[in-house]
């Protein structure tokens, strides 16, 4: 009897493991319902979007069944849109000690360019606190960066 209770509790716990975390503002649910990932890409005259970014978007499209819709623009307006929930994701080059970290959650490094004080890290930025969505983007970002590393 006791073993059955423990087994049931473990099954419950494993089910809970899968269902947590959830997004307070339902970003992932909305992406799936909308069939669209609203992505912001920072415009740069000197830097092209890295291949890892494309790989990340393809990974997210496969995981959510949604299509990436790209909006291009300068960094600050894009991050403001991200904070207000008008974008789901912003892909941009960030300095290592970027102050934007207070406004958005930055994912793992997709690609590094330059060195020393001029070192730039390409990352995906997500809306703070949307932990399920953040976890998915982080997972796919690691995958995208790894795939490039194994080539």
């Amino acid at each position: 009897m006791r073993a059955r209770c423990v087994a049931l509790a473990l099954v419950g716990l494993l089910a809970a493991c899968d269902s947590l975390p959830r997004d307070p503002e339902h970003t992932l649910e909305d992406v799936r319902a909308r069939h669209a990932i609203r992505v912001g890409e920072v415009l740069s005259e000197t830097q092209a979007m890295p291949v890892e970014a494309g790989r990340l978007l393809r990974g997210l499209e496969a995981a959510t069944g949604a299509t990436a819709e790209i909006t291009r623009g300068p960094m600050e307006p894009l991050l403001q849109k991200l904070d207000s929930g008008k974008l789901d994701l912003v892909i941009a080059p960030f300095a290592k000690d970027t102050p934007w970290v207070a406004l958005a959650s930055l994912g793992p490094v997709l690609r590094t360019e330059g060195s020393g004080e001029e070192r730039i890290e390409w990352r995906a930025a997500m809306r703070n606190g949307e932990n399920r969505w953040i976890m998915l983007v982080e997972s796919r970002s690691r995958q995208a960066a790894r795939e490039e590393g194994t080539r």
Binding site: L20, P21, G129
Partner: protein, 323 residues
């Protein structure tokens, strides 16, 4: 003429030496386990307000055991000297005051931080980590850290309470309370992280605010009690800022024994010192323990009775009796 003890510890009964040694051993374990908790929690802290609160509380939880160990060492080793003619029995009281201030300051700071986070409606991000080839939500590691942080303070705090009672040690008692606050913090912290995982962004800060309020409350209580000792107030109880029960009984016994005199009691560390103002001491040898109104094995608490003659009279020899 009696020979004065060389250290404060020598003035205490033999059985208390063993108790003090046990308390010191327990505090060494306390420091060790606290450090393991601080490291584990620090590794998985992330942006969570609850985790930050719990981590700072656990770090500050080191102040009482370290203060106790320093005070106990001073009691054991500190010799009466020309520079310190009264020895180091009040080091314990000083440590108690420091621990109380640290506790209250932490509570106030963390309460402010949690309230500001709530007002600003900041959504805490708890990201993921990659362990053994799998992406794991950091919240699960935070919950594991909180569960781990529950166990040592729960056990150590319960073991400290009887020792603190026996030694009449407020610093040790404050540490037991701190341990209680720590395991309660762990429990509230788990609720906060689970709430955050469920998408309730406010759960984390609400849990942190509740924990901070509890720390602040304990800190204020300890400050009231410790300052009372430092300004020569009447001896306070172990767990409250009210006058201790044994001090009330002693005051009543001395008032009855010396009618018309004013009885003043104060506490130096774990000892009580009495002054009887407006009367001469009774003739013959005077043993302070004979005035202790409660069980004889606690008579060591009364270290000294001093007599101050009525104004205009000169004191006679032997008006101050050491226990």
């Amino acid at each position: 003429m009696s020979v004065l003890p060389a250290t404060h510890l020598e003035s205490l009964p033999e059985e208390l030496h063993d108790t003090l040694r046990r308390a010191e051993r327990l505090e060494c374990w306390n420091v060790f386990w606290s450090l393991t908790i601080i490291v584990f929690m620090g590794l998985v802290m992330g942006q969570s307000q609850t985790m930050k609160t719990a981590w700072i509380e656990d770090s500050l939880g080191l102040v009482p055991p370290i203060a106790f160990l320093v005070a106990a060492r001073m009691e054991r080793k500190g010799r009466l000297s020309h520079r310190f003619p009264f020895g180091f029995e009040r080091v314990n009281g000083l440590g108690f005051f420091l621990a109380a201030v640290a506790l209250a300051a932490t509570g106030a700071l963390l309460l402010w931080d949690a309230a500001m986070t709530l007002i600003a409606a900041e959504h805490a991000t708890v990201a993921s980590v990659r362990i053994f080839g799998r992406d794991i939500w950091l919240g699960w590691l935070m919950i594991a850290a909180q569960v781990y942080s529950l166990i040592p303070p729960l056990i150590i705090g319960r073991k400290e309470l009887p020792l603190a009672e026996k030694l009449a040690d407020k610093l040790l008692h404050t540490d037991a309370m701190m341990n209680k606050a720590n395991w309660m913090t762990g429990a509230a912290g788990i609720a906060g992280i689970v709430g955050l995982g469920l998408g309730w962004w406010w759960a984390d800060s609400v849990a942190a605010a509740i924990i901070s309020f509890d720390i602040l409350h304990d800190g204020f209580k300890a400050i009231r009690s410790s300052t009372a000792e430092l300004v020569d107030g009447a001896p306070r109880g172990l767990s409250s800022a009210e006058i201790a029960e044994d001090a009330e009984a002693l005051h009543a016994a001395l008032s009855a024994r010396f009618p018309g005199a004013t009885v003043r009691l104060r506490e130096t560390g774990r000892l009580i010192r009495a002054e009887v103002h407006g009367c001469h001491p009774p003739p013959g040898p005077l043993d302070p323990s004979s005035h202790w109104p409660q069980e004889a094995k606690r008579a060591w608490r009364l270290a000294q009775i001093g007599f101050v003659p009525p104004r205009g009279e000169t004191p006679v020899e032997g008006e101050d009796e050491e226990g």
